[in-house]
């Protein structure tokens, strides 16, 4: 990859929550390249969300550092950072029944001064983002009336309007049913083809094949391995990640991951 500059470089980073006696993340070093789709895979509590919050700048590394587009993350102001990195959080933000359009419009915050109101151009961008995702007809619905899949699409629209080059998605499919999961993963792929760097966390290895180009395997705050997804989806590495026997089936260029049946529970 020599000539391409990495979007994100993590150098020997560790992180410990205040008051804790153990590192939540230990000695992590990674490089993430423009236009790639990276999946952060690991069991619950392995530090996936912590890593995402560090990339976002919400948490500060205890040791080591993070470079965003070649610059130390903490030399960038919060505003500068928010124009580079967008977030689709794990839980949605719909406390009050805002119209969808007004919700999407909030993605313009990094470009507005403290007392500046969004203008026609901002509204136009929000309408465009909704149209791009095929949900232009939702503009005037209240966000509290949306289904799980619709909520996720609307949140994506908000992040599109923010125009970051890097998108962090925290478990983007964990609350979704099968068709919606498929739609969101296809969207992730499509956005990477438009040049966005996509990074998402997941605890489901089956959301990776055909979507993520590289995978970071995490367990108990450590990166077990990182690399191209075809190499990472091996029985050995996945078993190590999850601490149970995992089997990987490949057929017709498709890959399925499952826990090897050890008949721990008997039906009889």
């Amino acid at each position: 990859m020599g000539s391409v500059e990495a979007d994100i470089v993590i150098q020997a980073m560790s992180f410990r929550y205040p008051g804790s006696s153990v590192d939540a993340l230990e000695n992590v070093s990674l490089e993430i390249y423009p236009g790639s789709v990276t999946a952060i895979l690991g069991p619950n509590g392995s530090g996936k969300t912590t890593l995402l919050h560090l990339l976002l700048g919400l948490l500060t590394p205890t040791r080591g550092k993070i470079l965003v587009k070649g610059k130390d993350q903490h030399d960038l102001s919060r505003r500068e950072l928010s124009r580079e990195i967008g977030l689709v959080a794990q839980e949605d933000d719909f406390s009050f029944d805002l119209p969808v359009l007004e919700y999407v419009l909030m993605g313009r915050a990094p470009y507005l001064k403290l007392l500046q109101l969004p203008d026609d151009r901002d509204y136009e961008l929000a309408v465009q983002a909704l149209a791009q995702l095929g949900i232009g007809d939702m503009a005037h619905r209240s966000v509290t009336t949306l289904s799980g899949g619709e909520r996720q699409l609307v949140t994506f629209a908000r992040v599109l309007v923010q125009q970051p080059s890097i998108l962090l998605l925290d478990e983007p499919t964990s609350h979704l049913d099968l068709p919606n999961t498929h739609q969101i993963l296809q969207l992730v792929k499509a956005m990477s083809r438009q040049g966005k760097t996509m990074i998402f966390t997941t605890h489901d290895p089956n959301s990776i094949p055909g979507v993520a180009s590289s995978v970071i395997l995490m367990r108990a705050g450590r990166v077990i391995a990182a690399g191209p997804s075809s190499d990472m989806l091996s029985e050995e590495l996945l078993s190590q990640t999850y601490g149970v026997e995992i089997e990987v089936h490949r057929s017709d260029q498709r890959t399925f991951v499952a826990v090897r049946d050890q008949s721990t529970y008997s039906a009889r």
Partner: protein, 336 residues
């Protein structure tokens, strides 16, 4: 274009509310018990110099104070509900009003009771009330955030009320006690021009600050990590808005006493009428709050030959409306 329709809708609502307000304002000038009960014929103001005096020196300042009271309390309620992402909070539920009432009582009983001292004490204790409520809400281990904040707020309010009772017990029954009792019921009967001029600067600044930050309120009602990802300094902006809401409330409470339920019910009604976008909800709440309290105060000074305390009227109608909205599903608490 879709955005044009939205802008149009907002404007039309604004003008309607403003027109209603002007009408009620003019009507309020005519309402009273002197020289004739209920409606004073406008011609009297030209013929009877005393009626004109009464209009300019008693009714007008009182009407302005009533309107300011409604604007500030409703705006503060909207701000608190959005900043705490909790549709069930209000200055009366977060220890702000009771704190201000306690501060005012303390100033009367122990610190001489000058207007400046009353406002200062009311302001300090209002902030203290909010601070303590927030502190405990973060530490209670029962229920979700909405419930915790309500529980902490009610407890802190009760503590300040109890403290207020102690002060009442200690107060001079002839000189101080009537003053204190007045805070607890809320009312505008003693308002004169000097009072209005005393509260005008702070309340106007607070209202302008809240109004200018109306779009930010939408942002601040989101989850912390999302707000951060949008490059917003949530802590600082919340602090500015809370300072504006609490100082405005404290100054109002120091003059008008405890006028309850305005900050809870008006934002709910406004959201139902105009939607939850703070760009419309905040100015809408200010206007509707002003109308609500002005109507309440008109009733307070007109219905009986004696004065009905304003706080009793707003609580009665506020609580009734709230129950009605609850039954009709107009109060949505969707957040986990």
């Amino acid at each position: 274009m879709t955005d044009v329709t939205i802008a149009y809708r907002k404007k039309r609502w604004g003008w309607t509310l403003l027109a209603v307000l002007v009408l009620i304002f003019l009507l309020s000038l005519l309402l009273g018990r002197y020289p004739v009960p209920f409606i004073t014929p406008p011609s009297l103001f030209w013929n009877d110099p005393r009626a004109l005096q009464l209009l300019l020196h008693i009714r007008l300042p009182r009407i302005i104070a009533a309107f300011l009271t409604g604007m500030v309390l409703a705006a503060a309620g909207t701000v608190l509900q959005m900043v705490f992402r909790n549709p069930l909070v209000d200055t009366g539920f977060l220890g702000v009003s009771q704190g201000a009432g306690f501060g005012a009582s303390l100033a009367i009983v122990a610190l001489g009771g000058s207007p400046a001292m009353i406002q200062l004490c009311a302001g300090l204790f209002a902030m203290l009330g909010l601070g303590i409520s927030y502190f405990f809400a973060r530490r209670i281990r029962l229920g979700d955030w909405i419930l915790r904040l309500v529980l902490a707020g009610i407890s802190v309010s009760a503590l300040f009320s109890a403290g207020g009772s102690v002060l009442k017990y200690m107060a001079d029954p002839l000189k101080q006690l009537p003053d204190i009792t007045f805070w607890l019921m809320g009312g505008l009967w003693s308002i004169t021009w000097p009072d209005v001029i005393q509260i005008l600067p702070v309340t106007c600044i607070c209202l302008v600050v809240m109004y200018l930050m109306r779009w930010r309120l939408n942002l601040l009602a989101m989850r912390d990590e999302t707000i951060f990802s949008l490059g917003v300094s949530a802590g600082r902006e919340r602090l500015v808005l809370l300072l504006a809401a609490v100082s405005g409330t404290a100054v109002i409470v120091s003059k008008a006493g405890l006028v309850g339920w305005v900050g809870l019910i008006v934002p709910h009604i406004t959201r139902r009428l105009l939607g939850a976008d703070a760009q419309t909800t905040l100015p809408g709440s200010m206007l509707l709050g002003g109308i609500f309290v002005l109507l309440g105060d008109n009733a307070a000074r007109t219905v009986l030959s004696g004065e009905i305390p304003l706080g009793i009227i707003t609580s009665f109608f506020g609580a009734t409306l709230f129950l009605f909205l609850l039954l009709r599903g107009g109060v949505s608490v969707k957040r986990k």
